[in-house]
Structures are given as structure tokens and as C-alpha cells.
Amino acid sequence: MGLAAAVAVPIGAAALSPLLAWRSPIYIAAGFAGVIAMAFLLIQPLLAGGFLPGLNTLRSRRLHRLVGGALVATVVIHVAGLWITSPPDVIDALLFRSPTPFSVWGVTAMWAMFAAALLAAFRRRLLRWKTWRFAHAALATVTVLGSVIHAMLIEGTMEWVTKAALCALVLAATARTLADLRPRQVTHRRGT
């Protein structure tokens, strides 16, 4: 319930933004893909750490992979939609030459997320478990930090208070899961 509200309230608040009246459907979809991606960034560490009630480790892991795939898809829609809306602005952002300070954070977060997802896709073939987990967590941390700074610097459809609250929750959930990573393979201990 708490998680549903944490995700639904900021999305609902963005749906009430006056800016929507002056945007094309594709631009609106691109913006909401970004908001939904941020919501996924709250769910992902909770699933990775096994913090969601009613899910055992196996189901939590499977959902984490599923939501990870959905996160990649929403970020692709976010960038593609913005590209269609204003190609030069997105090209500037991707080339790290945009005048807007939030672009560099967003693009950095995007590449970190792609790398984290690729690591997940080729996990067994590439690395030892501990090395893999460290690399995936490090990339996920860059994704989260970059995304939060990206979102907070933007004046967009998200309402400020609900945006700040969602970002704070994303940071807290990430920090909590990372804290569990340090001692040992904590994921085996939890949620069975």
C-alpha cells in the first residue's frame, strides 16, 4: 500500500501539471516515461534487497529482472520521445554539450543503467558472483544518483514536493539495500 502510494501520488500529481496543455502527445509520453522510470528506481532496490512483503527471494529476484527490463524500456521511450520532440536538444544531451546542467546527469544515469542491465543479461558468462554483484550495485548506484539529480534540476511536469519525496525514497531504498550488501550474501538470509 505504502509503495503503491509512493509511486501513484507523484505520477498523479504530474498528470495534473498545467504544462501538459502546451505539449504534444509524444512529448507528454516522453515525460511520463521518465516519471515512471523514477518509480521503477524505487521498486528495483526494494526487490533486490528482498524488502517487499509476500515475495520470497526467488520471486523477488525474478520481479527485479522483469522491472529492470521495463526500466530500460521506459528510458528508451523517454529519450526517443524527447528526440522526436526536439532532435537537436537530445543530440546535444547525448554528446554532453547541452546547456542544461541536468542533461549530463540524465545521460550518465542512462549509460550506467544500460551497463547494469547488460551485466544482468550476461551475468553467468562474465564474472564471479561477488564481482558481478559489486559491479551491478555500483552501476545501479550511479543510475540512481544521476537520475535523482537529473530530476531535481528539471522544471517539468512533476510537481516539486511529490518529486522531492519520490527522489528521497529512491535514495533511501538504494542506501538500505546497499547497506545489506556489505557484510555477506544477505539476500539468502531474507524473505524465505
Binding site: 504544462l19 505539449r23 504534444s24 522544471e155
Partner: protein, 162 residues
């Protein structure tokens, strides 16, 4: 020994002061008269459409884009210069042709064009301006509004003869 150190230190200080005075003294006369040209801003040319028509106002108006155009070097105001303006407003996206318009500077090098309210797009409430008429080097500006509630925005050009 101590006396020697002090002497060397004061020598160094005096020398440094001399060099500093000399350098500023040499640069100063040049700086006093020269007004540097405005460089283009990053992203300024995004969604530019060359040849925007000169208009009374863009769309329904309600928002004012203002500024000045001067010549690099002596800073003399430039009359009759064509400034092109576009932005994401309540009436259209940056790329829409009807979001673009141009105006001319008056005898004092001042331009003023009424346009629809600029709204935040791509994360910031901002406008775009271009000087691209050939007599001077092309300049693209991208000023950002302090608040998206502002109903005016200014941008100033200092142009370098081409």
C-alpha cells in the same frame, strides 16, 4: 642571514608588483575602449528556422522579448538589425513555424517583440534569439527565465563585423 632573507623577499615583492602594474598598464588602454562581441550560447541555434518573417507580434502576444544590439569595439547601437526569435510557448513548440518571428532594432539599437507566454520546455523556461543577416558574424542566444512566471525576457547582442 635574516636581513638577507628580508631583502630578498622585498625584492621579490617589488619585482612582482612591477610586473603586475606593467601588465595591467599595458592591457588597460585596450580594454577601456573595446566592447567584446557576444559569443553564441550552447544550444542557442537549436530548432532555428532561417528567414523567420518580420512580424508585428508572434501569435496572440502577452510576453515581451526585449534587448539591444551594439557593435563590438566601440559599443555603438546598431539600428535596423533583424533579430529572429523563437521559443516553446503556450501557442506552440519551438519547431512550429508559427512560434518563430523577427523584428528590427530602432535608432537606439533596441528591439522589442511581443509573443505568447514562454513555458518550460526541455527542463527550463527559455527563449532563442538569432542574429543571422550577414553584415556581422552570426550569433545565437538562449536566455533562461529566472522564473517561469516572468512575462518578459531580455537578451543583448554585441556584434562583430563580418
Amino acid at each position: 642571514m635574516t636581513i638577507h632573507m628580508v631583502t630578498r623577499r622585498s625584492l621579490l615583492a617589488a619585482g612582482g608588483a612591477l610586473v603586475a602594474t606593467g601588465a595591467t598598464g599595458l592591457l588597460h588602454p585596450a580594454n577601456a575602449q573595446t566592447i567584446a562581441p557576444t559569443p553564441s550560447m550552447r544550444g542557442g541555434a537549436n530548432n532555428y528556422r532561417p528567414g523567420a518573417p518580420i512580424v508585428e507580434r508572434i501569435g496572440g502576444g502577452g510576453f515581451w522579448m526585449t534587448g539591444t544590439v551594439r557593435r563590438a569595439g566601440d559599443g555603438a547601437p546598431l539600428a535596423g538589425q533583424r533579430i529572429q526569435i523563437w521559443a516553446h510557448t503556450t501557442e506552440g513548440h519551438e519547431r512550429d513555424p508559427h512560434s518563430h518571428g523577427a523584428t528590427l532594432t530602432d535608432a537606439n539599437g533596441v528591439f522589442r517583440l511581443e509573443m505568447p507566454q514562454i513555458v518550460p520546455a526541455f527542463g527550463q523556461p527559455h527563449g532563442h534569439l538569432a542574429y543571422d543577416s550577414g553584415d556581422f558574424e552570426t550569433v545565437f542566444l538562449r536566455p533562461v527565465m529566472r522564473s517561469s512566471k516572468d512575462t518578459s525576457l531580455e537578451a543583448h547582442f554585441v556584434l562583430q563585423p563580418a
